[in-house]
């Protein structure tokens, strides 16, 4: 932008010369813009009304599509920023359906006054994830809204993928006897953000776990039978497990000591009065496999950096259907439910 505006103005969204400058600014920072050079594919660089993905890209696989709106405070947090989060979140959602992501689209809404220098960092983060996972951003849109309409910046990303697993991977497909595997320690995204917001510093540096699970999981889709996959984002492990139990009409028994939690996350959650089981992760997955595939899946996960601390945390059982139980570290048993309502300050 050279000596031009430092801040995004309403005029940058008005369709004139400034709009072209903004689009150029964004376009410069995105490397992959079309699925492949193959015939029929049209990407974002064509600046047409939409993109085209040739059906050859899907071979015979089912097409999986997932969309997510991303807003986060603060925009830059320890371990990432909204650009990284909006890419990884949607890539992981596509993966959770047993699909390998092929392309993304991204709609960007900017609050008037957002700094170009911040936009630069956010877009570079997106580009980095796009390149590292070989997933192009093939279509996009940008809007600028007056101050106060949104909080700084918002992304809506959509991911397109091709299913590679033999059978559909659904929340409703967990069966009695299945092993419940967690790919890594939970809760660091939520705790990192919350302690950052509260201005609390802990002994260890707390960083968000936000990451794309493509390199960890994509190679395993054809190797093992997978019944269900789910990433424990909002509402954490507690929400995700309850949704699986409810939709599959099974009971799930979890052994608390088997749940990997980073000691720094545990201490921070303790001080903030939060339950790690209810806190968001952005780079973890629950994988449900038949008992015959449990050991193999676990060993394969552990070979990868992102799955080094993977653990079999429990099993699915016949009933009581729809309920999740926790065997606690002291050996007692209790229900594990979805978190109730907002996290509100308590009396003492």
């Amino acid at each position: 932008m050279g000596n031009e505006a430092r801040y995004v103005e309403l005029a940058h969204g008005a369709g004139g010369l400034k709009m072209d400058q903004l689009l150029e600014f964004i376009g410069h920072r995105i490397t992959l813009k079309v699925t492949s050079k193959g015939p029929g594919n049209i990407g974002v660089e064509a600046l047409d009304d939409g993109a085209v993905v040739s059906r050859r890209e899907f071979q015979d696989g089912d097409i999986v599509i997932s969309t997510d709106a991303h807003t986060v405070s603060p925009v830059f947090f320890p371990g990432g920023d909204i650009g990284k989060l909006s890419m990884c979140g949607t890539l992981n959602d596509v993966l959770m359906m047993g699909a390998i992501p092929i392309a993304m689209t991204s709609a960007l809404v900017l609050e008037e006054g957002f700094e170009f220098s911040a936009l630069d960092i956010v877009l570079r983060s997106m580009d980095e994830i796009s390149k590292a996972n070989s997933v192009p951003i093939i279509a996009g849109d940008t809007k600028v809204v007056p101050r106060g309409i949104i909080d700084q910046i918002m992304f809506v990303t959509t991911g397109l993928g091709k299913r590679c697993t033999k059978h559909p991977v659904l929340d409703a497909n967990t069966r009695p006897g299945d092993a419940i595997i967690l790919t890594g320690p939970i809760g660091s995204h939520g705790v990192a953000l919350m302690s950052f917001r509260e201005g609390i510093e802990f002994e260890a540096d707390l960083e968000s776990d936000v990451s794309s699970l493509v390199p960890l999981l994509a190679p395993l889709f054809t190797k093992y039978t997978i019944h269900t996959m789910k990433d424990p984002t909002r509402g954490g492990l507690a929400s995700a497990l309850n949704e699986i139990a409810h939709k599959s009409q099974v009971a799930i028994n979890i052994l608390q000591p088997r749940i990997p939690i980073d000691p720094a996350v545990r201490s921070a959650a303790e001080l903030l009065g939060l339950d790690p089981l209810e806190i968001t992760s952005e780079g973890r997955a629950i994988i449900v496999v038949p008992p015959s595939d449990a050991a193999g899946m676990l060993a394969s996960l552990r070979k990868h950096e992102l799955g080094r601390y993977a653990s079999i945390i429990g099993t699915a059982e016949e009933g009581p259907p729809g309920k999740v139980f926790l065997e606690t570290e002291i050996g007692g048993r209790r229900r594990l439910q979805k978190p109730v309502g907002e996290l509100i300050p308590r009396v003492c």
Partner: protein, 376 residues
């Protein structure tokens, strides 16, 4: 005793130690000849104790190990649940006065008054703010100088010092307090006298005891001869408290045993006590659904009347007629352990954590809410 948090919790949540203490409890019950026909009944009076009992599955463990030989009863340990409906109604009426902002903790905003809650008032456009502490309320009074900021201040001895300190620090002239503070020892006296509860002993609250110390309970034990133990909030803390009470029953020597020595002293926090006494005086006070207990509440001393929302705004508000409990709600019986949540016909049928009817389902330390969340 300089242990890291990690070391400490690994001890206090150890399965091995848990088993040891459970075995000791079982042996003592055996020696006393306790069966399910003549069970030992122990009451705790802290919502966070109930939370620990449920969250770690201790109730389940006790049942598996001891069957019906030990009854752990949840007492009136939820400040939001026992705060009188009159105070909530007063706050609701006060929120209708122009230029008044009501501030309080999140569960206090949701708790039902006679016909509505502060949350309803907020939805109707009244200025109601949720705060983390009284200090946040004082900050609001600095920011909104044109408004009158009223802090609805509930809680036992744990939250009183915070309010007292702010009052002593000369807050801005647009800051007021609606005191709904209650004291634990007077409530214990009443509970000890209730013969239908047939209590053998008490687990005494950890955080309250940090402030008031072991000595605050000595007259209670002298007068009522109830075995008592102060306990912390980790699983092993509670089990050691239970074990200490049962050992006293076995030996026939009731006293106050402090099993939370890493936080509670004999004298308590003298500085905090001084602040409390400078600002407040004890008064007869209503406990929601339970009646009036003498000297069980705190009100401002006369020299602080200019901060007392009741004195300042009393003649400007129209408080609605009192309805103690929502229709059908048995919270007043749950709160003193006369019935369990399951015995209330509304429990999980009409009254749930998402759509609570009674205070015990609203308060984060409410017995109904805790049981609804962790119970099988």
């Amino acid at each position: 005793m300089n242990r890291s948090l990690k070391e400490l919790t690994s001890i206090l949540r150890s399965q091995t130690y848990t088993k040891d203490v459970l075995m000791r409890i079982r042996q003592d019950l055996d020696k006393m000849g306790i069966t399910s026909e003549n069970p030992v009944t122990i009451m705790h009076v802290c919502g966070t104790h109930e939370d620990t009992l449920m969250k770690y599955g201790i109730r389940d463990l006790l049942k598996r190990e001891l069957g019906e030989r030990l009854r752990m009863v949840a007492g009136p340990g939820c400040p939001v649940c026992v705060s009188p409906v009159q105070d909530i109604d007063f706050a609701i009426a006060l929120s209708n006065v122009p230029n008044v902002m009501i501030t309080s903790y999140g569960d206090m905003v949701r708790v039902p008054g006679s016909t509505r809650s502060l949350e309803h008032q907020r939805k109707n456009g009244r200025d109601i703010r949720i705060v983390y502490s009284v200090t946040d309320a004082v900050k609001l009074s600095l920011r909104y100088k044109e408004k009158n900021i009223v802090f609805l201040s509930p809680g036992f001895e744990t939250t009183v010092p915070g309010t007292a300190v702010e009052v002593m620090n000369k807050p801005p002239s647009n800051f007021f307090v609606l005191s709904s503070h209650r004291l634990v020892p007077p409530a214990l006296n009443i509970l000890a006298e209730l013969s239908d509860l047939a209590l053998d002993g008490f687990i005494l609250p950890g955080h309250v005891s940090v402030i008031i110390g072991e000595r605050a309970y000595e007259s209670l034990v002298d007068r009522y001869q109830k075995a008592s133990a102060i306990s912390g909030f980790e699983p092993l803390d509670i089990l050691q408290g239970i074990s200490a009470v049962i050992k006293q029953l076995k030996d026939g020597i009731p006293k106050v045993i402090n099993t939370y020595g890493r936080a509670v002293t004999h004298e308590g926090n003298i500085v905090a006590q001084k602040y409390i006494n400078k600002v407040f005086q004890t008064v007869d006070a209503i406990w929601r659904g339970l009646g009036t207990f003498s000297d069980s509440g705190l009100d401002f001393r006369p020299e602080f009347a200019h901060l007392d929302a009741r004195s300042v705004f009393g003649d400007q508000v129209q408080v609605e007629p009192t309805r103690e409990m929502p229709p059908g709600c048995l919270c007043h019986k749950v709160v003193i352990g006369v019935i369990t949540p399951h015995e209330c016909p509304l429990y999980l049928t009409h009254c749930t954590p998402e759509m609570p009817i009674g205070p015990c389902m609203v308060g984060l330390e409410g017995t109904c809410r805790i049981n609804a969340i962790y119970g099988e």
